[in-house]
């Protein structure tokens, strides 16, 4: 499926927002959240550039499943490190372990449902963390209400990540054409939510 100029523009805007977040939006945070958010938005930036260069063909690469896991895992780790001090180490171990598990189950040919199970589990936990944690923090007044936008971004990335991952796993939830049609807009919307949520929702 050929990528339209509009979709390229949406991806360019996504890349610019991600670049802003890496360069400016995370200044002043602790070291680990800075590293985690740099990885998340950095992957988003490079992935956006490659999609612009190669078109949707870039999604045919087997690395897409792994890459689409890095973003939610890194974001969730950053959020937990910032706001759930008692879970820092355990979540970091989960993030690294989850990433390795997905990389392993994607690299070695396996029968059965283990690869799908690992994918759904890791994506599910990371996605729920990004969705629930900012929403709860905004609702209980710990953070400004606008911080809930990060949660909305989390819901969108969870959706996008699952769509892409199951598409790559050969078990698409919706048809490939539909996913490709909505993907650039979904990525932009998600990035707007994150950048705006982090910016407006700061203490």
């Amino acid at each position: 499926m050929k990528m339209s100029p509009l979709n390229r523009l949406l991806l360019l805007l996504t890349g610019l927002l991600a670049a802003y977040q890496v360069a400016i939006g995370i200044n002043g945070l602790d070291e680990v959240p800075i590293i985690a958010y740099t990885i998340a938005f950095g992957v988003l930036l490079v992935a956006g550039l490659l999609l612009i260069i190669l078109g949707f063909e870039a999604l045919d690469s087997p690395i897409v499943v792994i890459v689409s896991t890095v973003i939610p895992l890194a974001l969730a780790t950053g959020l937990v490190w910032q706001h759930l001090a008692s879970f820092r180490t355990s979540y970091l171990i989960f993030a690294i372990g989850g990433f390795l598990a997905i990389t392993l189950t994607r690299s070695i040919p396996m029968r059965g449902k283990l690869p799908i199970f690992v994918l759904a589990l890791v994506h599910g936990i990371a996605g729920m963390t990004i969705f629930l944690l900012p929403s709860i923090l905004a609702a209980d007044g710990t953070m400004k209400p606008a911080f809930a936008l990060v949660g909305l971004g989390g819901a969108l990335i969870g959706l996008g990540g699952l769509l892409l991952s199951f598409l790559k796993a050969g078990k698409p939830i919706v048809p490939r054409q539909t996913i490709l049609k909505i993907l650039p807009a979904l990525l932009l919307l998600m990035t707007i939510c994150f950048v705006a949520g982090f910016y407006v929702g700061r203490d």
Binding site: A23, F41, G42, L45, V46, L49, I53, L54
Partner: protein, 292 residues
């Protein structure tokens, strides 16, 4: 111009100018000019827009002049390659004499202007021209695939020239910036020589893939990408760019390195093409970031 003879495309100045313009490879020259501007801005001296403007004009003319002269000499090679045979130098739309005159005029104007702005800046601009026209084009391009090293040194001169104009000397940061361009160029040209392998072979131009094979060429691409990224990173730290800009440079460099390693371990036409495109984008964005 002889007004008694019938007017053809060759004799219309606007048409000739337009065709000469295509021979300057505007995108490539523009990218090299961007590196020159970045070199100047990297000094973070109080902005002198008038100086920046004349620097840009003189540098662009010198780069464009050397590119036109390269086209003048390589007309026979361009005529043999499918990718280039429609260029005015290969198709005969411009005569060799016209191209040579145009190239020399633009070169003299650019280098002369550069020397008038500041002698050391002018000398570095001249070196870039000399390495490109004399060493790379006239001497080595048809003899050895290693000619691209000299082409690379020539391509590294604009950023050094910009830096020299700003700080008044050749300093370590300038040399590191030049190294970053020098080692970025193989990433660009070698992926290109893999993509157009048959074209270069048909024209009899020695390239790394035809001399050392694809695997070695891909390994060199990966190695040069690492050195280019390291040079830009070191120069950025020495310049004292903000932490956020440094993070962004690390992210973009990681993309370059990943693609370079992908060409080694998972070689394909698609990976090669994406590295070629990404490398240009990487250089453009890196230069913009160094200017901030």
């Amino acid at each position: 111009m002889n007004h008694q003879t019938p007017i053809t495309n060759h004799q219309l100045p606007i048409t000739t100018f337009r065709q000469l313009w295509t021979l300057t490879k505007p995108l490539q020259s523009g990218l090299l000019l961007t590196t020159g501007i970045a070199g100047y801005m990297s000094a973070h001296t109080p902005p002198n827009f008038a100086l920046l403007l004349v620097m840009s004009a003189s540098l662009f003319l010198a780069i464009a002049g050397s590119t036109i002269l390269n086209m003048w000499y390589d007309h026979d090679i361009d005529a043999k390659m499918r990718r280039t045979q429609k260029r005015p130098n290969a198709s005969g739309e411009l005569t060799r004499a016209e191209i040579f005159r145009g190239g020399m005029m633009v070169s003299i104007l650019g280098i002369g202007w550069a020397a008038a702005i500041q002698p050391l800046y002018g000398f570095v601009v001249f070196l870039g021209w000399f390495f490109d026209v004399v060493v790379y084009t006239l001497w080595l391009k048809r003899r050895t695939c290693w000619s691209i090293v000299w082409g690379g040194i020539s391509g590294a001169m604009p950023i050094l020239a910009g830096r020299v104009l700003a700080v008044g000397e050749v300093d370590m940061i300038g040399l590191l910036l030049a190294a970053s361009v020098l080692f970025w160029i193989p990433t660009h040209t070698l992926t290109f020589s893999i993509k157009f392998f048959d074209d270069y072979n048909a024209a009899g131009v020695p390239t790394f893939p035809s001399t050392y094979g694809f695997d070695t060429t891909r390994a060199i691409i990966a190695l040069s990408s690492i050195i280019a990224a390291a040079s830009i990173g070191t120069a950025s730290v020495m310049i004292g760019v903000q932490a956020g800009i440094l993070r962004l440079l690390i992210v973009l460099s990681s993309g370059l390195l990943l693609l370079s390693f992908a060409t080694v371990f998972r070689p394909s036409e698609r990976v090669n093409f994406s590295l070629f495109k990404y490398a240009s984008l990487y250089m453009l964005i890196s230069m913009m970031l160094l200017s901030i």
